[in-house]
């Protein structure tokens, strides 16, 4: 690896040619996903096994191993893709390694058992890009994760990395960079949807020096992990975007703020920053342009509200991360009361391609108001959990069924929740909604950072609303009264409803309190907190009424409103439930199914009997 500092664009070009000349596109290369999801499946052991096996079979000179960030198809991890043929193996474990090396990498044979099988057609699919999960995506931003070892800057350079920076620094004025971003109509992909170019311009024109730029990687929405996967898998794309933004805005100091739950993102970003500094992309006189800029990384400590822009600047100042009143925008008075531009990870990652390929290219896909692509994390009761990048405007149905493969175990779809705790639940009748900033807001939800949580018939919507309010109660910083008290009261009402103490008028009261929060809270955490309640009332009012009027939970979730019963016709008397019941609430004589009974006064509704029963003989009513 070249350790020399690059002093000009031609130095970078020379290095790029040098890297490319050493790489043979025909050489066999195995790409192993090592994002957080695959690591949780044990991919690190798989990587070690490949290294060992390749050494053992003396193939070190003939094949490469590339350990990459998240590929996105988390459902089927650990993932391995073998190039140049692009053979995709799913659910690879250490026992498969020697077969893959000796049969596929040595002999070019395909191992049938490791291929992805389409659950609908039963067809085995060889090439990664042919798998329906990938086939219907447009991976402009996320696609490079598969081609890059995030710990090696040369992988990024080989893919034209930092060429957009060269173009910005040497061919464009800061104003031209801002114009290009404005023309592209790039909007804040962290959820706000504010036009990025206008934000940059405001910061640039705001009086006061120095100016700061910040990457917000405090991805707090539960069920959303695309920012983490970009930061882990392709940190240089974010760093390059940030340097370009800093140049456009006139900033010389930047910050990357990463949530504490993301240790791997911190690790890979720290390495990437060190490498960028060594190669001369950060520091004084970047590539001989005369522009100085450097970046520090900060770790969060577990507080959802700290991802709010004014709260985040407080954290960087060493204070408690609470939001400030926004009489003045962060762009004008942010970090240390200086003009500060804050964008989310995905927004920054979109900047280099816009500069390289132009605003027209960027805006060639998308909808009227939302251009380009958006990465969603498609999770919950969906068959293909994973990260999905699609053009703005694709319908929910195409995402959930076309890419996500529909609902687990063929159950009935009930709702999809977008926008995190500030978002809402969208019902089946709106599945053909094109997904963009404005459409989601129209139906009472929002884009948020891109979490898309699929819910099926077994999900109770009142419980979901209660879940989000309990999340928000914990995360409300307590500074303003409407949010601090309002969320608490709404949570009490929802808890009462789910525990069988709901009464007439509760729904109306929830609506009334919601209005106060919307009007009077200090920051977006409070003003959007009613969304999960209002959308579930709007689209699933019957479920609320079943809880309140009939003291029933139709989905069978709310413990106080359900009973576990033994279906005597199905019961074989295997005794598993009796053995496993922690409260000794089940009695019955072995092999005599008709004698089994649950003592409701002892039953704590833990559901263990339901889990252990192999004969579907436990019912929830």
């Amino acid at each position: 690896m070249t350790k020399r500092k690059l002093k000009s664009p031609s130095d970078l070009e020379k290095l790029r040619q040098e890297i490319l000349s050493k790489r043979d596109p025909k050489k066999s290369c195995i790409t192993l996903c090592s994002g957080t999801g695959c690591r949780a499946y044990g991919s690190e052991k798989v990587v070690a096994a490949f290294q060992e096996e390749i050494r053992k079979q003396n193939l070190a000179d003939e094949v490469d191993i590339r350990v990459t960030g998240c590929h996105g198809f988390c459902e089927k991890g650990p993932l391995a893709v073998i190039y140049p043929e692009e053979i995709c193996y799913t659910e690879v474990n250490t026992e498969d390694v020697s077969d893959i090396v000796s049969q596929t990498m040595r002999e070019g044979q395909i191992i049938d058992r490791l291929l992805y099988k389409d659950p609908n057609t039963g067809e085995k699919i060889i090439r990664e890009s042919e798998i329906p999960f990938y086939k219907h995506q447009t991976r402009r931003i996320f696609g490079n994760n598969l081609k890059i070892d995030p710990k090696n800057i040369e992988d990024y350079i080989a893919l034209d990395g930092y060429s957009a920076l060269v173009r910005a620094l040497f061919e464009l004025t800061p104003e031209q960079v801002i114009d290009e971003v404005k023309k592209a109509n790039l909007r804040g992909l962290g959820g706000g949807g504010f036009p990025t170019g206008i934000k940059w311009e405001t910061t640039r024109n705001a009086p006061g020096e120095p100016k700061y730029v910040i990457v917000n990687c405090d991805e707090g929405d539960p069920g959303a992990y695309m920012d983490r996967s970009l930061m882990e898998g392709n940190p240089h794309s974010v760093i390059e975007g940030l340097i370009i933004g800093a140049y456009a805005i006139g900033s010389h100091e930047g910050f990357i703020y990463v949530r504490e739950e993301y240790p791997l993102a911190v690790e890979n970003t720290t390495i990437a920053l060190d490498q960028a500094r060594k190669y001369g992309f950060l520091g004084r006189n970047i590539l001989g342009s005369g522009f100085d800029f450097d970046i520090s990384i900060y770790r969060g400590a577990g507080a959802f509200v700290s991802g709010e822009s004014s709260a985040l600047t407080s954290v960087l100042e060493g204070k408690v991360g609470k939001p400030k009143p926004k009489y003045v925008h962060t762009a004008v008075s942010g970090l240390w009361e200086k003009p500060t531009n804050l964008n989310n990870v995905e927004t920054w990652a979109n900047v280099p391609p816009i500069i390289n390929k132009g605003a027209d290219w960027f805006a060639s896909i998308g909808t009227e108001g939302s251009k380009g692509t958006k990465i969603f994390s498609l999770v919950g009761k969906v068959n293909n959990t994973g990260l999905v990048e699609v053009p703005m405007g694709m319908t929910l149905r195409e995402v959930i069924y076309g890419i996500g493969g529909g609902i687990i175990k063929g159950k009935k779809f009930k709702a999809v929740q977008t926008g995190g705790p500030s978002g809402g639940c969208i019902p089946e009748s709106l599945l053909d909604l094109p997904v963009d900033f404005d459409e989601l807001t129209k139906v009472g939800s929002m884009m948020g950072s891109g979490g898309m949580i699929v819910m099926d018939e077994d999900t109770c919507m009142v419980d979901v609303a209660r879940y989000f309010l309990s999340f928000l109660r914990e995360e409300s910083c307590g500074k303003c009264v409407p949010c601090r008290e309002g969320i608490k009261r709404m949570l009490e009402i929802l808890t009462d409803i789910t525990e069988g103490r709901g009464k007439e008028g509760d729904i109306e009261l929830l609506e009334e309190v919601s209005e106060v929060l919307r009007d009077a809270s200090l920051c977006a955490l409070g003003t959007t907190a009613p969304n999960p309640i209002l959308t579930t009332i709007k689209y699933f009012r019957d479920e609320y009424e079943a809880h309140i009027k009939y003291k029933k939970c139709p989905a069978g979730v709310c413990k106080e409103l359900i009973e576990y019963l033994i279906d005597l016709e199905q019961c074989t008397g295997c005794h598993r439930c009796v053995v496993n019941c922690p409260e000794e609430a089940i009695t019955g004589e072995k092999k005599k199914g008709e004698t089994y009974k649950i003592d409701q006064s002892k039953c704590i509704k833990c559901g263990v009997c339901l889990d252990v029963c192999k004969f579907d003989a436990v019912e929830v009513r």
């Binding site: 957080t36 949780a40 988390c74 929405d221 739950e261 060493g318 204070k319 408690v320 919950g380 889990d611």
Partner: protein, 161 residues
């Protein structure tokens, strides 16, 4: 208490108060929690009011002012895990250990916490013990896993006494 290693951490961050979170994180790694003396020392050395350091130490979920157990059990309650049965995993762990979330067993063997999202939603519901992930976890398997980390019913019984 040996405060020399706390001083080393402070030096590493150049006694920069804007790095207070990272400093406290490292102090916590050192001691497994944030001891009062260490907080006082950090406040004094950074020339910050103790109230502000305390404010930060109690605002963020990651910090603990109480000693924690030998093994940290985290149950994910992100939305995806919630709809896939995460709460039942937490309830099961609570029942087995005889403690509630955010508590530690009396013998300091286990601390149980819930987390808002670990970002490995494909594995939901997920429980993490120290750094080991247990995904797609049926509640019935929780006890078996805890036994691997030395759980026996005695962890619970001490508390019942």
């Amino acid at each position: 208490m040996n405060l020399e290693n706390v001083e080393e951490i402070l030096a590493k961050y150049k006694h920069n108060e804007s790095q207070i979170i990272s400093i406290l994180q490292e102090v916590q790694v050192l001691h497994n929690y944030l001891p009062e003396e260490a907080l006082k020392y950090v406040a004094e050395r950074l020339n910050m009011p103790l109230a502000r350091v305390y404010g930060i130490a109690t605002f963020y979920k990651t910090f603990s002012l109480e000693p924690r157990g030998e093994h940290l059990i985290r149950v994910c309650l992100g939305t995806a895990c919630h709809v896939r049965g995460g709460p039942r995993i937490l309830e099961t762990a609570e029942r087995i250990l005889g403690i509630k979330a955010d508590e530690t067993t009396p013998d300091y063997k286990f601390t149980l916490e819930s987390v808002n999202c670990l970002g490995c939603c494909a594995l939901g519901p997920v429980m993490v013990v120290d750094d080991e992930y247990y995904g797609k976890l049926p509640p019935a398997n929780v006890e078996k896993i805890l036994r691997q980390y030395g759980y026996s019913s005695s962890n619970k019984e001490e508390k019942d006494d």
